[in-house]
Symmetry: C2
């Protein structure tokens, strides 16, 4: 299938690296405009949240929002075969949506400055709309989110991207959101908390730590700039021009990897076969159990924590906000410790850039195994990594600076997680090096990762990394 006008407009937007001075001023001003305070609470001071009897977990009395439940996991996969953990249950499909318009010949994305209680820096850049089903039905009595009608009223816009995508399978039980990008037909009424940005500008912001939030990144990961070979010059020169811009080095390699005219090292049929094998082989049985029966976890007055100091803990917070739908509320959050790490190894194989994917088996996965990045692991309270670490971990921890194509710290969803950050890295391996692979790893081109993403088979850690790839 050829690249259509939508993908062309994404490509041009990804090359439109306009100045960010106006954005910077606006973002600083927004941060100052919104009073926002978060403080930890004992569980007993949570309002409308309570520990349900049995396996109901920590839940809101309306039955809405989400619950923190106890999960018992048994698997034949990986070094640990049986464990207990808390997990977030939120069995509804929300909308994460970005409204776009072509203005002055370039597609622009309407981004929102949004506070979330779990963000280390409070304010981050989010999609135009971040709406749970509770938002539509206004369970907490708040306002209907700004611009939601553009996504739910089909006359108002054309849909460019609309895919169901998962969240962290180690933290959420089968959670999926609808990731949407729309083209708005008419003018969009301005609002102080919103700002138009090109894809290239967003990519520039993604090079900094903790500005673009997780919900924005997962939607942007679906904004493929997939190219067809007819838009690329013949041969393999060291640089070529697209839309008046000269692309060279890694940016050129990225665009070639996004072309779907050549299959890459493996065909898509091979990759589907690999994933079938991974799904067939891994068995994972899960059952919900009462939180107080979780083995290895201790509940104090204000925390449910693992006795090892690893993983995460469950805490309660009170939020006072001026810009949210309601002025004050309390809620549980999953607290994380030092940074985790998620990274892709990349390598030019047969002249074309490939990324090393791993079959990721997590208890909350919608299907058994998803396509994940080369490495993904959580931090611990004392900052140490698990021992022995997963394959290829050292290649990220000890990467030579010249091989690092991307490295920044990004926050995970601040509405559910407290200070959950991961360092995201892309590290390139020289083409000459032979990398021996365990059989749950496989090389893919970006076009293939993109195709698997479209069908909901790529996990959020891998999609986060895809969102950070920049052509400028």
């Amino acid at each position: 299938m050829k690249a259509g006008p939508v993908r062309e407009s994404f490509l041009h937007s990804a090359l439109a690296d306009e100045p960010l001075a106006r954005f910077d001023a606006w973002f600083a001003e927004r941060g100052a405009a919104h009073p926002f305070r978060v403080r930890r609470l004992p569980f007993s001071e949570l309002r409308q949240w309570r520990f349900e009897p049995g396996a109901g977990g920590l839940a809101h009395e309306s039955g809405k929002f989400f619950q923190v439940r106890g999960l018992r996991v048994r698997t034949n996969h990986g070094p640990v075969r049986e464990w207990d953990q808390p997990i977030i249950n939120q069995p509804e499909i929300g909308i994460l949506g970005i409204a776009t318009r072509v203005v002055d010949g370039v597609r622009r994305f309407l981004m929102q400055a949004k506070m979330e209680p779990g963000n280390v820096n409070m304010l981050q850049l989010s999609p135009t709309v971040q709406a749970t089903r509770s938002n539509y039905t206004r369970v907490h009595g708040g306002r209907r989110p700004q611009y939601l009608d553009l996504f739910t009223d089909r006359g108002a816009s054309a849909i460019l991207v609309d895919q169901l995508q998962s969240e962290q399978g180690a933290r959420f039980l089968r959670k999926r959101n609808r990731n949407m990008i729309i083209d708005v037909k008419g003018e969009v009424e301005p609002h102080d908390d919103f700002h138009w940005l090109t894809l290239a500008q967003i990519h520039r912001l993604l090079r900094a730590d903790n500005i673009v939030n997780m919900d924005a990144r997962t939607v942007l990961a679906c904004a493929s700039v997939r190219a067809d070979s007819s838009s690329l010059p013949a041969g393999d020169p060291s640089a070529f021009s697209v839309a008046g811009r000269r692309l060279e080095g890694f940016a050129k390699d990225l665009l070639l990897s996004l072309s779907n005219d050549e299959p890459g090292l493996h065909s898509m049929d091979d990759l589907v076969s690999w994933l079938s094998e991974m799904k067939s082989r891994a068995e994972m049985s899960i059952e919900t159990v009462p939180l107080e029966e979780l083995r290895g976890w201790r509940r104090t007055g204000d925390e449910i924590r693992h006795e090892s100091g690893r993983h995460f803990s469950v805490i309660a917070v009170e939020v006072e906000a001026g810009s949210r739908e309601v002025v004050s509320w309390t809620q549980p959050l999953l607290r994380h410790y030092s940074h985790g790490l998620a990274g892709f190894l990349a390598q030019k194989i047969g002249g074309r850039l490939h990324f090393l994917a791993r079959a990721s088996v997590e208890p909350g996965n919608f299907d058994v195994a998803d396509v994940g990045p080369t490495v993904a692991l959580a931090g611990s309270e004392d900052g140490s990594w698990e021992t022995p670490g997963p394959p290829f971990l050292e290649r990220f921890l000890a990467a030579p600076p010249a091989a690092i194509r991307y490295s920044a710290v990004q926050s995970e969803e601040g509405g559910r997680f407290y200070h959950f950050q991961n360092r995201y890295m892309i590290v390139e391996v020289p083409p000459s090096e032979v990398v021996p692979l365990p059989d749950d790893y496989v090389w893919m081109t970006l076009a293939q990762l993109d195709e698997l993403t479209r069908f909901g088979m790529v996990n959020i850690e891998a999609r986060n990394l895809l969102a950070c790839l920049s052509l400028t």
Copy 2:
């Protein structure tokens, strides 16, 4: 992506319509060679099967094979919002595999003559291998299935197709099988129960009732003959030649619809969006309950049946066989009454053949909604259809003979179902007619159905119909 040599070899095999005289003689001989007797039993005479306490259902004492469990369903989808039913639980991924080889320049498929207790005619044509995990581990003490090593030993063959595909979501709880087609590297040791056939020969057999079994059809549905436009003549003549054969009429339309160079009425992004909407909108909660608590179902000494006489019943049988892995066994089966119906409406839109898909929401679906055929409904004890019938039912029941592109009765899995047959139909609507569509219906090309099949999003009723499409 261009059609590779594998798809080319499938295309040529689909055009190689060789005589079937040798097959007919072999198949008749196999039917005579195998004594096979099935008789109904009271549940109390089942050996090693028993009604477990609680929600365990009717189960084998080994814990293997499958269980017939009680299911309680609540949904916001469709005319009936709440019901109980028995359902088959078999939470393991089996292999359905066909071995192929290119002999005399044409790819040939190794098919097996196989008896199943639920088949109306006992003997049908099955894949080379039909293996549950119980087969590998030989729970019932039988032999390892013939040729299984070709599929599990990766040195012995190259994998051409390897996809996880679902079974009936109204009868199985999240059941999936690995559908495989392999290219065998060396000679294949002959065995009396096996016969080599071209795709065209299999398609010819599919025009008759109840010869090619469900397991063979689901694998064949993955054997795409997807073409690229470079193999098709330019323009739109009334006929063209492929591999020395002149294609015209419906066969030509099929091949054009299989070309993935043009998107069709909707782009793949549009179709993914439609399916995202269907999955977001439908809610379906299921819980297993004890069989004796199923509302509307009555258990007698030899049957669990619905009081309406509709749907199906659970029975027990004893099997005595000469060709199976063991000589005699007992098991439960789901008994069906008169034929059900599954059909696609087809229409040329913009010169290209499209098929009318419906979002199918079933309690046992792995995901919420799959891509189903235009109509799919079960028969009843008295042969009547449900009233009111689903949209478009009348177009099949009252189809003018000149519009019927395919019509035959095929059996569903005879190892689980007793006399479960469906009439499969393709009915073509004139290009000039405007068909108003409810929003859970959408037109797709064959190339798009094929792509969605690859990622496990097309249900078994729709795949059965795809398997029956013939170019000869």
